[in-house]
Symmetry: C2
Subunit: 192 residues, 2 copies
Amino acid sequence: MTTIAGYTYGQVPTSPVTLDDLETLKATVLWSDDDTAALKLAGEVLADQVDDVLDLWYGYVGSHPHLVRYFNGSDGNPDGAYLDAVRVRFGQWIRDLCGRTWDADWLAYQQEIAVRHTTDKKNRTDGVDSTEAYVPLRYMVAFIWPITATIKDFLGRQGHSPEQIDAMYQAWFKAITLSVTLWTRPYAPGTW
Amino acid sequence: MTTIAGYTYGQVPTSPVTLDDLETLKATVLWSDDDTAALKLAGEVLADQVDDVLDLWYGYVGSHPHLVRYFNGSDGNPDGAYLDAVRVRFGQWIRDLCGRTWDADWLAYQQEIAVRHTTDKKNRTDGVDSTEAYVPLRYMVAFIWPITATIKDFLGRQGHSPEQIDAMYQAWFKAITLSVTLWTRPYAPGTW
């Protein structure tokens, strides 16, 4: 298996979010065993399409100056090496979201992903000297829409029934909402 | 027109979020004129179903102790008058989201809704002595899923085509994501 630069799954501190907190959040999005199965299937459907998904998402970010600026280097232009390094981890994130068990390790890594968007840790993993010290909370939350809505087409490309596609899409939507919720914690730890 | 207790649309201070910020957020969810039209149509479809939508949402909140607790009075039990007062404004919020122009008044009222979930203003509008001083950020964000996913069925009840229903649903999903994004600002004003 290829080593992914900056990918430290299983090697990060325990999350301040407890497994009980996670269960409560799962209840909030009415997470069910059917969702677990549908998300696993989604991971299988997406496995060979991860690069296509990333092409779409990077096209979306790249075409919006107010978004791509968070990949700026010190010269105020997008840093290609930074974009590339994040892209590889972004792909692994798709695989992990669908394929990993949501246990303490998974929860710990969501916190790691979270802090990598804030002043505490953005730019450090990739050693970037960026003009942007953090990704604003507004875009973390707003990204729920593009990251969810764009996936349905990919879920429908391997001959599954409309019911299966819808089940995968609903599980993905729940999983994205829940993941982003976890990623917002460092922005307001006292009232999260 | 019946007066709604605590409903102060058009009578609140200018939002710290600018109309330019709003345009940027709309761009982030790829908001289009088609979405504007589809959301308006959604408002017409939902107009006579608002109470049914609220029945569903209140059933969902009421059946989850970790959610209904934010309607607690000082005795630690849900306060019926508080639940009822919020419900009437919640219904008006559906009408406003779909029917109002997203101008400075609309933006100002999103900020008002936002702060009414935080320690600054929760419980004050309805004069409630609650055990809960604020609604945690985690539930504000997680609510994107139930508030979105539950609406599709209602959008399909008035004989529109699958394409129209999907357009209304996508516009609703974008509008909810954008609204909740605005509502998160008071939780992290410095990094929003």
